[in-house]
């Protein structure tokens, strides 16, 4: 499937999440960033529990909501997927501005990935992830 046909959905591999009273807490265990989403942001986040068509999203979302989707992508919470897109059902009602708050203080501890990136051909110590750059706090 080429990039133009790929759907968009929640990253599943490195994400822990829980929703309390319609507001989500998300922890990205790979990057060390963790996030808090308000109600409107959580509603959008949960839509991507299924693969969605980026073209349909762009058609049906407001500019504010698209900006939020861009933030989710920048923070690697949404990823391109080869899963077939599921059509959105129902109306997307904007109740408030969707917001994402990122917390950084744990992230510096996660520059190493001890178990996975072991230099098996060298001394066996972890390898700093090449090209690691910190995404901006906002898109």
């Amino acid at each position: 499937m080429n990039a133009a046909q790929q759907s968009l959905r929640k990253q599943q591999l490195n994400i822990l999440e829980e929703t309390f009273e319609s507001e989500a807490v998300i922890i990205n265990i790979a990057s060390g960033y963790y996030f808090s989403l308000n109600g409107a942001g959580t509603e959008i986040w949960q839509l991507f529990g299924q693969a969605r068509d980026p073209a349909e999203i762009e058609q049906r979302f407001s500019a504010e909501q698209m900006e939020f989707v861009a933030q989710l992508r920048t923070q690697e919470l949404l990823l391109a997927s080869d899963d077939p897109a599921v059509q959105l059902s129902g109306e997307i009602i904007a109740t408030e501005t969707p917001k994402l708050e990122r917390f950084d203080e744990m992230a510096d501890l996660l520059q190493f990935d001890p178990v996975h990136d072991i230099d098996l051909d060298g001394d066996g110590w972890p390898v700093l992830r090449e090209g690691f750059t910190r995404p901006p706090a906002s898109a």
Partner: protein
């Protein structure tokens, strides 16, 4: 990124090398027993590992009295480099976790089938402060969930009736100050930096490490003036033996009835109800992101705590006499 099959093979190979090295390690000492909740842990030490393990655990270690549920083997061996050669294959079915820490120069492995973990350190002088205050924490983190227990970054204090408050929040927000002041003023304390959250029935907190850490500017220092700090480590904190300075207030376990999230302020305030979301933000990241193997079991345990226990934010100020009263409000 290395593929998962290679990682599993690498981890199994590392565990095998540590097993072989431990068998040959000099100065092996008789096993000691540690009981946490329902788990019986045998700890075997060789080389200089006692210097790492004993400060935080010695008061809780005793002679072996029953078979081990879990076995931890800790050793130091300069010149050994278990990672130096290419990893030979291990059984792909082995459920082995491994973690290297290049800052401290240590390697920990846990074999879920054999229920045996290894901790190797090449040079004790390289270890950072937190390795002495919370030794073998990777092994505890990997192994305890099989008993529905979870090593978490939190403090716990309570009353003589056995009811307790879990104190949550990132480092530097007043958990240790709150916990030590409460204990110095007569409340019970389970632990400062780490406790074991027991989710096998009603939520409980168990003791694990005997070290409390105080920043030089903490008002709690005034309440423990006779404490002989083990060492002021490079993290700038005094590491104090809890059992030495507040031994009478120490309690093995508390039944959790609330979560408290302290916040440093100009004056101590009354607790205010906090949302489950904010509480999880305070409680989860420093446990999940600093301890290995927590994603599968410990995160749901923390979620459960945030859903079941009432949570409060409370301000902690230099008026330290007001702090125990504020915490006690959460116990009623």
């Amino acid at each position: 990124m290395t593929d998962q099959a290679t990682v599993r093979t690498a981890a199994g190979g590392l565990a095998q090398r540590l097993r072989d090295a431990f068998e040959r390690a000099p100065d092996r000492q008789p096993a000691l027993e540690l009981n946490i909740g329902r788990a019986t842990i045998h700890i075997e030490i060789a080389g200089d590992a006692a210097e790492i393990v004993m400060p935080a655990l010695r008061k809780r270690l005793g002679p072996v009295t029953q078979p081990a549920d879990l076995t931890f083997r800790a050793f130091t061996q300069p010149g050994l480099d278990p990672l130096g050669q290419a990893i030979t294959g291990a059984a792909a079915s082995q459920r082995v976790s491994a973690m290297t820490d290049p800052i401290s120069g240590t390697l920990s492995t846990w074999d879920e089938d054999e229920r045996v973990g290894y901790y190797w350190c090449g040079n004790v002088d390289r270890l950072p402060a937190w390795d002495f205050a919370a030794p073998l924490r990777a092994l505890f983190s990997w192994s305890l969930p099989s008993f529905d227990m979870h090593l978490i970054h939190a403090a716990a204090v309570g009353n003589d009736e056995g009811a307790g408050v879990l104190l949550a929040g990132p480092s530097g927000r007043g958990k240790s100050t709150t916990a030590i002041i409460c204990a110095a003023k007569g409340m019970r304390i389970v632990g400062d930096d780490y406790v074991v959250l027991d989710t096998s029935g009603d939520l409980r907190a168990h003791t694990i490490f005997d070290i409390v850490k105080l920043r030089p500017d903490s008002p709690a220092n005034a309440l423990v003036p006779d404490a002989e700090a083990l060492l002021v480590r490079e993290d700038g904190k005094a590491h104090i033996q809890l059992s030495d300075v507040l031994g009478e207030q120490h309690i093995e376990s508390l039944d959790l009835v609330a979560i408290g999230v302290p916040k440093i302020a100009e004056q101590t305030g009354k607790p205010r109800r906090e949302s489950g979301r904010s509480t999880l933000l305070a409680l989860a990241p420093s446990s999940i992101l600093q301890l290995p193997g927590t994603q599968r079991d410990t995160f749901p345990a923390l979620v459960r705590a945030c859903r079941e226990l009432p949570a409060y934010e409370f301000e902690v100020g230099p008026d330290i006499d007001a702090i125990p009263a504020a915490v006690s409000m959460m116990l009623t």
